[in-house]
Assembly symmetry: C2
Homo-oligomer: 155 residues x 2
């Protein structure tokens, strides 16, 4: 089940970053995370619940890429991660999940989304504790890296 969720999240992420911030990300091959840890400086997280499954999604950014994304969206940005940046990452997480939710609905999964939470702090890592495998999709750009990670239980 987790594998068929890759495309909705990935295409929604590429679409949001491209249309909102003119930021073209290059996805690397998705992998099932085993001991591997995506490290970053600012992450948006959101919980998702449906009748068939529940889980969590995170999008982790290098600070440099989050700042460049803000610059792409509004023309200017702070030098470091502040509340404007965490607000932006929260909104992007909401938009990416909302886009994926529509695609998942076409596959028969009707998810409710919780509200986003944003973590900031240099070199933190995210550990999804659902029982399913953890899918990690690295994305690269000239401004730094991002990672989409998610995991879902069947409920």
């Amino acid at each position: 089940m987790n594998v068929e969720f890759i495309n909705p999240f990935l295409s929604s992420m590429l679409n949001v970053m491209s249309t909102m911030a003119q930021m073209e990300l290059t996805p690397e091959k998705p992998k099932l995370k085993k001991g591997e840890v995506a490290m970053g400086d600012v992450s948006g997280l959101i919980g998702m619940v449906s009748e068939q499954a529940k889980g969590s999604l995170s999008i982790t950014y290098d600070a440099s890429l989050a700042i460049a994304t803000m610059k792409g969206m509004v023309g200017e940005a702070p030098d470091s991660v502040n509340e404007e940046i965490t607000d932006l990452v929260g909104e992007i997480t909401n938009m990416v999940t909302g886009g994926a939710k529509r695609m998942l609905s076409e596959k028969g999964f009707e998810f409710d989304m919780a509200t986003p939470v944003v973590v900031s702090g240099p070199d933190h890592t995210i550990h999804h504790k659902a029982k399913g495998p953890i899918v990690i999709i690295p994305l690269s750009s000239p401004h730094g890296k991002a990672y989409i990670e998610f995991s879902f239980d069947e409920s």
Copy 2:
């Protein structure tokens, strides 16, 4: 609405920490977070969804308190935050939210819980992006501090 959620989360947290790890925490006065930031080393987060409201909860620990909690539960613990500790913090987050969910149900809120996510990294901060006020409850112990934080939208 957020204020009437204080007691379910707080009493569930005190109960879980006391019964599972013989760890007695002293709660300080809950506050509505305004610019204030709880900093910690390992945090459990969970998304919650009901018909009336959706939101997110986090429990943030100093590394020293998370390690002492593990020692209280199983008699031994690693020297620093590793996967055993993040698993434990994920489980505690699940148990605290599950306990609160039962009390919230008695108040007429039927929440579905997403799956927990654990963040590790020294001195990270958590930013709840629901539209409601952010409630923060500091908890102190001889081993370090913990913070419960949550925020809910009315949906």
